[in-house]
Amino acid sequence: MQPKNLLFVIRHSSYGLFPGREILDAILAASAYGQNIQVLFMDEGIWQIKSDQQANLIAQKSVEKNLAAFEIYEIEELFVCERSALERGISADDISVDAQWLNTASIQALLSKQDQILSF
């Protein structure tokens, strides 16, 4: 079967409604199936990749370790919604992963080439 283009769209922060590590676990698990995986962080999801998270202060495990595993699992196509980051005062220096910044038009192009979108 031809590999499919799957985009994970992360729109929730790490420690709010859903535990961020479970969202990232889903992406890591998906990487084992030979599909083309890309990840877009937007809206509150931007907070997942904020550097220097002090999750221990709220008795949580930081998601930074899970994010660091992306490279080992060969999940390397990461994207950040520029508008969401700007709205939250987050610049390229504030994020912990190597990601490409996309404007709205580029995000539309990214979405349109996917076979399936997995939204979290």
């Binding site: 409604l17 535990p19 399936q116």
Partner: protein
């Protein structure tokens, strides 16, 4: 068209009922519902111990009907389930728990089944 649903919201959220209504509509149409995958807070939908007042929705029962009518896969992620105390008999034994609570009609599966659903379906619709 083949559909699968991903449910991430708890059964007390109206989002879960929207997912169920959507699932039911697919079953009543010419389309096919391949799988409903419960993850994150969505795993609570499979808790057979939920006992809401009789004039309120019992999501575990509603999902079970869906499975009984058209044998749609109702899949609960094992890791998310164990974290939240939604386990079948085998998982309860593995973790030395003195009870299990997975409702009839549901099965415990790995996260890979979410990917399988997305690859084998024409549309994956997320509720949560």
């Amino acid at each position: 068209m083949i559909f699968s649903l991903a449910v991430y919201s708890s059964p007390s959220s109206t989002i879960s009922y929207s997912a169920w209504q959507f699932a039911k509509s697919i079953q009543n149409s010419e389309h096919q519902l391949y799988r409903v995958f419960f993850y994150l807070e969505g795993v609570y939908n499979a808790n057979q111990l939920m006992t809401p007042p009789t004039d309120e929705l019992n999501m575990a029962k509603l999902w079970k009907e869906l499975n009984a009518e058209k044998s749609t896969d109702l899949c609960v992620c094992v890791a998310a389930g164990i974290r939240r105390g939604v386990v079948d008999k085998a998982e309860a034994a593995r973790h030395n728990l003195n009870a299990f609570n997975l409702a009839e009609g549901f099965e415990i599966v790995g996260l890979g089944q979410l990917l399988d659903a997305s690859v084998k379906s024409d549309r994956l619709v997320t509720f949560g």
